[in-house]
C-alpha cells in the first residue's frame, strides 16, 4: 500500500502535506525561475517554445486560430512535462506518479471542454448539440466521464510504471544498470506530456466544432 500512495511529510494547520505536494511546489518554482531567467536573458528561446506549442496544437485542432486555447493547453504541456521529468531528482518523486495530480489535471480538461464549448456556441446551443438525437445522450455522458478517467489513469500508470521499474532495477543492481530505464522514463514522460496535450486539444476541438 505504501508504494502507490504518497507519504505524509508534515501537517500545516491540520492539512496533511505529502511528498507529492512538495515536489509539485519545487516543479512550479523551477518553472517560474526558468521563465523569469529566459524572459530576461533569452527572449528568443521563449518565442521558440511558444511557436513550437502553437504549431503542435494547431496541427491537431481544426480551428483557424488556436491562440484562444493556447494558454490552457500550453501550460498543461509545460507543467506535465516538468512534473514527469522532476522524478529524476533523487529525493523527489514525480507528482504525476500520485493519482491525485493526474485526476486534477484531467478535471481541468473536463471543465475546460465545457467552458470553451459553451463560450463558442452559447449554453443552449451547446447542450442541444450534445443531445441532438436524444437517445445518444447517455452514451455521450459515459464517453465524457470515461475519457476523463482514462486521461488521468494513462498519465498516472505510465509515470508510476517508469518509476517502479527503475526502482526495481536499482534494488537489483544499483550502479549503472538503472540508467537506461531512467532515460526511458524521461522519454516516456515527455511523450506523455505530448499525448496529454494532444488529447486535451482533441477534446476541446470536438467541443467547439460546428456541424457542417
Amino acid at each position: 500500500m505504501e508504494s502507490i500512495t504518497p507519504q505524509i511529510i508534515f501537517y500545516v494547520f491540520g492539512i496533511p502535506i505529502n511528498s507529492t505536494i512538495i515536489s509539485t511546489w519545487i516543479g512550479m518554482l523551477l518553472i517560474i525561475i526558468l521563465a523569469a531567467i529566459t524572459s530576461r536573458y533569452f527572449p528568443h528561446a521563449l518565442d521558440m517554445l511558444g511557436e513550437f506549442l502553437s504549431s503542435m496544437v494547431s496541427g491537431i485542432m481544426t480551428a483557424d486560430n488556436v491562440d484562444e486555447y493556447l494558454p490552457l493547453l500550453g501550460s498543461l504541456a509545460i507543467f506535465v512535462a516538468v512534473a514527469n521529468s522532476i522524478g529524476i531528482i533523487p529525493i523527489l518523486s514525480a507528482p504525476t506518479s500520485d493519482i491525485n495530480t493526474p485526476i486534477a489535471l484531467a478535471l481541468v480538461v473536463f471543465f475546460g471542454v465545457y467552458f470553451y464549448g459553451i463560450r463558442k456556441k452559447g449554453i443552449i446551443n451547446y447542450f442541444k448539440e450534445l443531445a441532438s438525437p436524444i437517445f445518444l445522450l447517455p452514451f455521450e455522458i459515459i464517453g465524457q466521464v470515461s475519457r476523463t478517467v482514462s486521461l488521468s489513469l494513462r498519465l498516472f500508470g505510465n509515470i508510476l510504471s517508469g518509476e517502479m521499474i527503475s526502482a526495481i532495477v536499482f534494488g537489483l543492481l544499483p550502479l549503472i544498470a538503472p540508467l537506461p530505464f531512467i532515460g526511458l522514463g524521461l522519454f516516456l514522460g515527455i511523450l506523455q506530456a505530448y499525448v496529454f496535450t494532444a488529447l486535451a486539444s482533441l477534446y476541446i476541438d470536438l467541443a467547439i466544432a460546428t456541424e457542417n
Partner: protein, 91 residues
C-alpha cells in the same frame, strides 16, 4: 490446495493472476501497436509529404491503445500492493 492456509491461497492466486495478466495485457497490446506502426510506416513511405499528419494520428491512437495495457498494470498494482481481499479478511 484445499488444505492451504487461506492467506497463502490468496497470495498465491494474486501472484499467479498478476503474472499471467501482465503477460497477456502487454503482449496483445504490443502486437496490436506493432500493426498500427506497420501501417503508418507504409503510409509514410507511400506519401512522405503527409508524414506529419500520420505521425500525430499514430501517436494519439497509440496512446489510446496503450491505455488498455495501463489498466492491466493498475489492476495488478492494486492486487499486489493494496489487495482488498487481504485487507478485508486478515485485519
Amino acid at each position: 490446495m484445499s488444505d492451504m492456509n487461506p492467506e497463502y491461497l490468496i497470495t498465491f492466486t494474486t501472484i499467479l493472476v498478476s503474472g499471467i495478466g501482465i503477460i497477456l495485457g502487454t503482449a496483445i497490446v504490443a502486437i496490436v501497436e506493432g500493426r498500427a506502426v506497420i501501417k503508418a510506416l507504409d503510409g509514410i513511405t507511400r506519401q512522405p509529404e503527409s508524414a506529419n499528419d500520420i505521425r500525430t494520428t499514430l501517436l494519439i491512437s497509440m496512446a489510446l491503445l496503450e491505455s488498455s495495457s495501463i489498466y492491466v498494470l493498475l489492476v495488478i498494482l492494486i492486487l499486489i500492493f493494496a489487495n482488498p481481499m487481504i485487507t478485508q479478511f486478515f485485519n
